[in-house]
Symmetry: C2
Subunit: 496 residues, 2 copies
């Protein structure tokens, strides 16, 4: 059986994740203290800290090199409480303000213990990341967005938008390595180099298949495949699953997060839930398996230069929030189709900088005509635009409190633009892409919890294989953020 | 340790659900072919069919008698395709129309294989229920509602409301035993008598603790407690978990369905997720653990005699849908607080028949005053009511297509009534109550699926311990319906 890297996805459904009894393992091909399954940001952080604690560490990666889905990401890391970058850009911040914002933006019902720790120790985590070679320019990108098109080291991620700005003192907390737009590759380049330098070994093209456990349920290692060869790895101190989420596993999506079925996947293609399934086969508990990040892919400035309406012509959110926030509001809660309604001035401002060549789907002389063309109830779009223009004229959005900076009357001919337009243009069938946030139930030290409530001995998880600091919300940087933060804690705990 | 029925809930978190190895079980206190854990509707249906197939059957029930949460329920069973009751009331129906309705109302992403079977065999299931002694009067209760205040045998459950009436030929499919309002007790009285007559034995005050499994993972029985005594039950052919959902387990709610935290529980107090946890300890897969039924508890006629608006004064649904549908729309998707806005004529019509003594929370002479008192954006409620009144005058709701039968201009002084008012009055702190819909991943024959994708040998589940025919929606009768329907199939499969 040739099980080379390129054929992995098709084997997902067939492969057993049944735990292998230690008594049936005749011998081991490799032995080490700590095995880490998956070389994304969480695996890298775990490897660095486990090695720093003196453990012999081996990282197994199914692909031919490190990076994982982290390397495909924007690269923002959500950090605050008063980092050097925040201070240099003129912002005061505190762990309490960071906590208050994240509790609202990632809520409701985020894990408060994890979130509190994440905020309280954020400055230390920032310094640790810098020690691994990751640099952040001390300049601010000052507009709402998914990512910055510049090399600025700091950006807003919804902190200054209503209602968040009223719940906590706003400070930008999106910390970015110096790359235009996508910067995950740079983050992972630095982390992988640090892992190498720190002494952890890596086996690439090696896909973990199942956990090895003794009769008491204690984890003793993993089985894996390397180009068709079956390998047995012994972990004297612990196994850390950093295998990512499950957006690439259609059966798991159907079972747990069907809202992402059919949409684009923000992943490296290997987020097949294998780590979650391996642990569940040992009785591991999960949390919030239905939670997702899902993005309507449009130029970010399109929404805040115009208004966002649902199929009935109603606005439903201040358009200057983090774009993921309006994406969730639309996809999860509003009747589709959704439209950006915008005038020529707004459209040109958005298209010129972010999407040259962009074309609106519909154009009309009046709101009534446009509403009719879009099949909205008679009068609906006129009322919405008249109200919005009144509010723009007096610089106060009575419904959703969009910042006055972005309030401007919509004049002249109007266009309707699909807020998924860039995604469709880029080949994402539905113009929507996302990934999963739910996963294994872990302690703050990454120990995987059994459905009985006790930790499973010597089994750890971090990154998107675990449920982290998210409730139902998401902002950029919180997945790389909690992946590296709790990955480090899992690495230290496993090395003890 | 005294583990009498009354003290069960406090022991939930402490108790281990770890599987007990068969090799460690010295001997058994009882042996039978099929063990059924839990005597609600699914357990009863499983017991009846397993016994009818010739198996020796034993039902374990933690409380002192049969009934479970099923006995606390409304008692509607969702049946159709052209039952005798539907025909006698003058309605034509088909399995395809039933399927089209349920696919929309219980969707998106309901289990289509289960749903198809449930609809195709619904007439047979209706006849089977009648053979167990359950009678249905051949009369229709003709208004939207959770339950009927009459003994009518048939009621609408949203089939004739927009958009459902446009997706399938509408026919009422809520079949009810002859009891005013709550009828679950009567349903369970008949089923329990039938179980007795069918020869299955029952051990009450007996709480299953863990599954017994052999080295290959095949289920061989259960351990249980009976007034502090530990008992071991051998099941030669299979164990069927019909233990209900997990609304009474706060930890599981926090992990999977936090939207119900703090709200009322529609249960007998014992829906602690124990069956789900016992199976997951053996590596069972789950589906849709976040799905819930959640009801805003108000007189059903209050909403359709008035309009329902969100915190911004916007309508968001046709108020003549099944009340669970507007409850979900509000609770899961609309900014709170929600209000019923109603005039004196409407209020009196609702209060007179369904809630004598009901008082509105706010009254005002005009929509502007009322909107201001409710803290809505200036002009919002006036616009909503003016639009609604225009539509009522021409008998066409341009936004949500509420049936013309319930469209009536709102005139004179207006009241705002909290759509949770009856729940609050009845002592449900938040005026919202619900239960969980997610559970074990099962085949159409009730076999519990392992995370590896294969069935766990000799383990079955049905009722709310399993994921059934629900996607994200719910209508009355579909839980008793799928509990009895798939309970029967599990009983037959286990007896084979």
């Amino acid at each position: 059986m040739n099980d080379a890297a390129g054929t992995f996805p098709s084997t997902v459904a067939r492969d057993s994740v049944d735990p292998v009894p230690l008594t049936t393992v005749g011998g081991f091909d490799y032995e080490t203290d700590v095995i880490i399954v998956g070389f994304g940001c969480a695996g890298a952080a775990a490897a660095l800290e486990a090695a720093a604690a003196g453990a012999d560490v081996l990282v197994l990666e199914r692909l031919s090199g490190p990076g994982g889905s982290s390397a495909q990401s924007g690269g923002e890391i959500y950090l605050g409480g008063g980092t050097q970058v925040q201070k240099a850009c003129g912002f005061e911040d505190s762990a309490d303000d960071m906590y208050a914002y994240l509790r609202a933006a990632l809520g409701p019902h985020a894990d408060e213990e994890k979130l509190r720790l994440y905020c309280d120790e954020s400055i230390e985590h920032f310094e640790w990341l810098r020690r691994q070679g990751i640099s952040f320019q001390e300049t601010l990108y000052d507009a709402p967005g998914w990512m910055a098109p510049t090399t600025d080291g700091l950006m807003w991620l919804g902190e200054n938008a209503w209602p968040y700005g009223t719940l906590a003192r706003p400070a930008p907390r999106g910390h970015r390595p110096p790359a235009e737009n996508y910067g995950g590759w740079l983050l992972m380049e630095k982390l992988a180099a640090a892992v190498d330098a720190g002494g952890a070994r890596t086996h690439t093209d090696t896909r973990a298949a199942a956990l090895i456990a003794d009769e008491s349920g204690q984890v003793a290692g993993v089985t894996a495949r390397h180009f068709g060869q079956d390998l047995r790895y012994r972990a004297r101190k612990g196994v850390i699953l950093t295998t990512g989420g499950f957006v690439d596993n259609e059966e798991m999506l159907a079972a747990h997060a069907p809202v992402l079925l059919g949409h684009g996947k923000v992943s490296d293609g290997g987020d097949d839930g294998s780590g979650i399934r391996m642990a569940c086969a040992l009785g591991a508990a999960t949390r919030r398996m239905g939670m997702v990040e899902a993005a309507l892919i449009a130029p970010p400035s399109l929404a805040y230069h115009g208004i966002l309406v649902n199929a009935l012509g109603q606005r439903f959110i201040n358009e200057d929030v983090y774009p993921g926030t309006y994406s969730h509001a639309a996809l999860l809660h509003q009747p589709a189709p959704w439209w950006v309604i915008i005038d020529q001035e707004g459209f040109e401002a958005a298209a010129a900088t972010e999407a040259p060549g962009l074309q609106p789907q519909h154009v009309a002389e009046t709101a009534a005509e446009l509403g009719s063309e879009l099949g909205m109830p008679a009068g609906a779009l006129e009322t919405t635009i008249a109200t919005y223009n009144q509010d723009a004229a007096r610089a106060e959005d009575r419904y959703f409190h969009k910042n006055a900076r972005w309030l401007r009357e919509l004049n002249g001919p109007l266009a309707a633009v699909d807020p998924r337009v860039l995604g469709v243009a880029a080949g994402t069938k539905t113009g929507i892409a996302g990934f999963t946030l739910g996963g294994l139930h872990t302690t703050v030290d990454g120990a995987v919890i059994h459905v009985s409530g006790r930790p499973i001995p010597r089994l750890y998880a971090a990154g998107r294989a675990a449920a982290g600091i998210h409730g139902e919300g998401y902002v950029s940087g919180t997945s790389l953020g909690d992946g590296t933060f709790f990955g480090r804690r899992a690495g230290r705990a496993a090395a003890r």
